[in-house]
Symmetry: D2
Subunit: 330 residues, 4 copies
Amino acid sequence: MNSYGRFFQVTLYGESHQDAIGVVIDGMPSGILIDESKIKADLVKRQPGAIGTTPRKEADEFRITSGVFNGYSTGSPIHLMIENKNIQSKDYEHLKKHPRPGHADFAANVKYRGFQDYRGGGRFSGRLTAALVAAGAIAKMIIPFELSHKLLQVGNLTDLTLIDEYLEEVSKLGDSVGGLIEVKATNMIVGLGEPFFNKLDSEIGKMMFSIPAVKGVEIGVGFDCLLMKGSTYNDEIIDVQGKTKTNHSGGVTGGLSNGNDLVVKVVIKPTSSIQKEQETFNFDTGKIESLEIGGRHDVCIARRVGIVLENALAIVLADLYLIQKSYITK
Amino acid sequence: MNSYGRFFQVTLYGESHQDAIGVVIDGMPSGILIDESKIKADLVKRQPGAIGTTPRKEADEFRITSGVFNGYSTGSPIHLMIENKNIQSKDYEHLKKHPRPGHADFAANVKYRGFQDYRGGGRFSGRLTAALVAAGAIAKMIIPFELSHKLLQVGNLTDLTLIDEYLEEVSKLGDSVGGLIEVKATNMIVGLGEPFFNKLDSEIGKMMFSIPAVKGVEIGVGFDCLLMKGSTYNDEIIDVQGKTKTNHSGGVTGGLSNGNDLVVKVVIKPTSSIQKEQETFNFDTGKIESLEIGGRHDVCIARRVGIVLENALAIVLADLYLIQKSYITK
Amino acid sequence: MNSYGRFFQVTLYGESHQDAIGVVIDGMPSGILIDESKIKADLVKRQPGAIGTTPRKEADEFRITSGVFNGYSTGSPIHLMIENKNIQSKDYEHLKKHPRPGHADFAANVKYRGFQDYRGGGRFSGRLTAALVAAGAIAKMIIPFELSHKLLQVGNLTDLTLIDEYLEEVSKLGDSVGGLIEVKATNMIVGLGEPFFNKLDSEIGKMMFSIPAVKGVEIGVGFDCLLMKGSTYNDEIIDVQGKTKTNHSGGVTGGLSNGNDLVVKVVIKPTSSIQKEQETFNFDTGKIESLEIGGRHDVCIARRVGIVLENALAIVLADLYLIQKSYITK
Amino acid sequence: MNSYGRFFQVTLYGESHQDAIGVVIDGMPSGILIDESKIKADLVKRQPGAIGTTPRKEADEFRITSGVFNGYSTGSPIHLMIENKNIQSKDYEHLKKHPRPGHADFAANVKYRGFQDYRGGGRFSGRLTAALVAAGAIAKMIIPFELSHKLLQVGNLTDLTLIDEYLEEVSKLGDSVGGLIEVKATNMIVGLGEPFFNKLDSEIGKMMFSIPAVKGVEIGVGFDCLLMKGSTYNDEIIDVQGKTKTNHSGGVTGGLSNGNDLVVKVVIKPTSSIQKEQETFNFDTGKIESLEIGGRHDVCIARRVGIVLENALAIVLADLYLIQKSYITK
C-alpha cells in the first residue's frame, strides 16, 4: 500500500501521466514552521540537467492545500500536490503485448489485469519520487539531524571527476549504467529504532527498497564485513557519548542508532529504458522480437536519485524520532 | 514494535533469559493443516552443533496453546511458545558500565534507561529468532512457493569445502567471522508486492534487516549491477509466463514478483562476542579498558542463520500472498 | 490519525477554510468502473437546502487526479479533491479566548497549542465529511450490499411529517436540535468482521463516532434490549441461510454479520452553534461572559448527515469485504 | 484481527476450551513498576460469585513470561498468559447443525468453514476478556487518570438494591437479562484523541463494541440529547481549565477530551445462553426444532462485565496518552 510510518505517516498518490502526484503527511506536529523554500530547493536537486540525465524537465511547482496556516503546521494532515505538466503521452498500448525488459510492464499487467495506467510507467515511474522528496523536506523540519548524500560510483567508474565523459560515452552507445550512493545522517541521538520489526535498519531497508531501481542496501561497511574478523569489525566505544573509534557498523547496533554517524549505501541499477534495441517476447505473435523504446530517459538515474534517498531517510528518521519522543517516565 | 504483516501478522515476544519466547500469528486462515513435525524440523536446522557454532543448545520444545483444533487452524490467532531452559545467568550488570563493542548494550541502556533485561543480550539476542523460525514454518503451510537457503561465503572463504578447517582456525584465534547467505523462492507467481511502500523487495528489506547481525541485503545480482550496462543487466522476457533469459533482477521488477526465482542475498556481520580481549569505555572509571567477554558464543553465526532468513522470507511471502488473494473482480 | 481501513484505506485531509479538502483511497482493486455521477449524486444528498439547514452551499465539485484511467480504477491510489470555494472568513481569533460551548475550540487550542486553523471550525468542521461521502460512494462500487438511511426522529419529534414546522419553530428560537438516524445494509453476506478488535460492530462504532456530532451508536434494538429477556431478544434461525424470525441483533452476532439486514442507529447531538446568546469563559478577562456566535449554521444537522453515515458504513463494509475475500483454501 | 492500539498495542489470543488465553502488550515504556497484585485484584472483579452469575469459576492465575525484569517493565513486549483449567468439554459438535440463537455459531461456521473451535463458544467466548482485563490493569500503570465503573440498570430494574431478588426471579424462569453500565475516567487531561479516525470517542466505540454482548455505546447523555435543545445541551465553560457547568457531552468535544470527566455508557444484551427451550433451525433435518442448551451460564453477564469495560477503556486511554506524549515543540 501507499502509506509509510506509524507517527509521521506519508501517503503517496499519483501516476506518471495523470493529472497530479501528491502526498498527504499525517502526524505532523503543530507549530512547526513550514519553509516552502526548503521544499523547492530539494525538488530542484532532483531535477535533470546534468549530462546523463533526461531532457524532460518538470517545473515541479507544488501547492500545499491544507495543514498549514500562517506559515506553521496546524497539526492536521498536510496535503502537497504537484501537477504533471510536461507530459508527452503517446501510444503506450503496445507495452502490454511487448513488455520492456527490466520494467514492471509484464508483472503490472498481470497484477492489475490490464487496467493499470501504463503511460510513462504509471505508478512505477520515478515521477512519484518528487512527492517523496517534498515529504522528506518537510520531515527534515522536525528532526535535529543533518542529512547528506554523495554519489560514490557510476557504473564501474569510481573517479567521478570523469563522470561527464563517462556518461557521454554510455549515452553514445545507447546504453545506461547504475550507481552507488551514500546517504549519511550526522548529529544523531542514541536509541532511535523499535525492535523487533521497526529497527532503524529495518525501516531504512524498507524505505530504500521502495524507491524505484534500488537493488541493494547496506549499513556501514555492509558486505565488506566479510573481509574482516570480529576483532577488527567491532567498533570500540571510546567516550561517554558512545562514540566509537571506527564506524564499521554505520551507526546502528542491535537495530538502534548508537550516536555515531548513520551511514547507508544504496545501489541503483542501470536505467531500464535504453536507446539500444533489445529483444523481448511479443505476446501477440508469441515470438521473441526486437524492441526499440525511444522516449526521453536518464542514462544514469543514479545521478539524480541522491536527494530522493536522502529525503526518504529523513522520513524514516522523523517517524522514529516522534516515536522516541513518546516515551514517558513515571 | 514487535509485529510484522498486514494480513499474516506475526507478533514476537521474549528475551534471552526470561521464562519464554513466543509468537502470536494472527490472520492465519482457518482449515490449514498444522504439521508440527515441519516446525520441529525447521527449529532443528537453527540449532548449533556444527563447528563454529555455540556449545549452548536449547531443546526448543514448543507448545501451541491456541488457534489449532483437531490438527487444523481455527482462524483464531495461533500462539506458539518456547520455554527458555538452558539459561546460565551470571552477572551481566557490568555491561551497563562496560558495554561490549559491536553489541546493543550501550544504545539499549540509553534507550530503555537501564531497565532492559541485559542478561544474555535480552531482546537483542538471536534467541528470539527461534520463534521467528517457528512462525515461518507455519507461513510455509499456506504458500505454494518452495524456499531454500545456501551459505555462499564465510568470512573471506568462498570454497566452503574448507569451512570446518577455516572456522577452527578462527576459533583458535578467539575471533569471529561473518557470512554471505542466499535465500531463494522458486515456483513463484507473478504480481506479489504492493507498491509504493509494501513492494516485495521493500518488505524483504525490512524483514531481513530485522534479523540480528544482518548488515546488507541485495536482490538478484545486487551491488554487482555496477559492473553491467543496462543492455546486459536487463532480463529479456522469453515466454508467455514472463520467464526471462537471465535473472539479474532476482525475480523482482518494479517491486513486484515477475515469475522468476526470487533471489535474495544477505550479509551477516562477524559475531560481536569474541573470546579475544577488546577495549571499551568504562563508564564508571571514565577510561578505556580491556574487556573479556567469556560465555558460549558462535564463531560464525552465519552457519546457523540460513533457516532464519528462509523462514523470515516465508512470512513476507505469506503476507503478500494473502493480500494478493483479496483482489476481487466485479 | 486520518486513515481508516486495513485494505480499503481512506486518508482524509483538509480543513474548513483552507484551499481544499480531499481523500486518498488506497487498496481500490483495479478494473472497477468509477461512475462519477454516483459520487455527484451522493454529494448532492449532503448539501443543504431543506428547512433547518445552513444557507451556505458549496458546489462540491470534485476532481479525481489519479488512480482512474479510461474510466476504470487502475489499482493505484485514487485521489479525489474538492476545492473550498464558498468561504466567508472573518475574524475567528476570538475563539481562542472565547471558546464556543459545545465546540472543540478549547480542547483544540490546548492540543495544538494555538496553531490550529480555527476558521470555520478547522478540521473539526463537518466540511470534511464531503470527502468522506465521496469515498463512500466509491466504496459502494465494490460491495454487493445495498445501503440506505432514514431519519427517525428530530429532537423530540417522531412524527416527521411535521418536520418543517418543527424546525422553523426551533430556528425562530435561535436554537438547535439533534436527531436519530437509522442506517441499513441489505443483501448482506454471512461472516463479515474480524474478531477480536475488527468485528463488524467494532468498526461501525469506530467509524460512526468519527463523524462530528455523533454521541451514541447502537446495533439492532440496541439500548432497548434492556426491556427484553433473553428468550425474547434472541433471534431464532429459521432457514438454511441463517435468516432469523426477528432481527433484534441488527444483523450482527459475535461481531460477525449473520446474513440478516445490518441495522445501525446513530444519535446526532443538537448543533453546537446556535443564534441564541450563551455564556462562556473569557480567557483574557478571566470572567464568564455572553457570547453571540453569528454565522450560517444548521438548526438540525441531522437532516443532512444521513448520507454521511450511510457512506461511512459503506467504507467499513468495503474494507471488511476485501479482507473476507482474501481467505484461501488449501 | 486481534491487535488494538498504535502505541500501547494489545494482541489477544486464546479460545474458551484451548490450553491458554493470553495477551502480548507491545509499546509498554520501560521502567514502569508492574504490580502483579493490581492485575490479580482486577481479575478477581471479573470472576463470578454473585447471584445471577455462572457457577463455573476459573482461578485466573496468570504468568508473565517476558517483558518484566526485577519488577519493572523492560521496554520489550509483555506476555501474560492464563491457562484454562476449569474446562468441561462435552460434545459441542451439534452446534454446527443446531446453531444457538443469539450466538455466533452459525456465522462462525460459515466464516471459518467448520474449522473453528466451537467448544464453549471458542474465540467468541467471554473467556478472552480475562486477558483484556489483565492488559487493562497494566495500562492503568501508565496513565494518570482514575477509572471506575457502575452498574446502572439490570433488565428493566433501575433500583439495584433489589438486584438479587430480581435475578433470582429471572433465573427461575430459565431466562436472562441485559444491563446498563457506566464507565468513568476522572482526573482527565485536555486533548486526548487523534482526529479524524482516532478520536477519543471513535476509539472508545471500537473498543467497547469489541467486547462480547455490547449492543450500544453512548458518550455523556448520549441518546437523551434528543430531549434537549442546543441551548440546554451545550456545556458552558466556566473556568480556565475548561471545566464546564454541565457535562452532557461526557468529557468529549470534537473527538478530544476536554478536561471534564469522561463518561461512557454501554448496554449489554441479555445473555444468549438460557435454560429455557428455544427454537432453531436444524441444518441436518431442514426443520425448525427445539433446542435446550444446558451448561453453566450467567443469567446476567452485565453483573460481571463492568471491570472488563473499565479496563478496556484504560487500554484506549493508555494508547492515546502515549501518542499525546510524542508531540514535540521545536
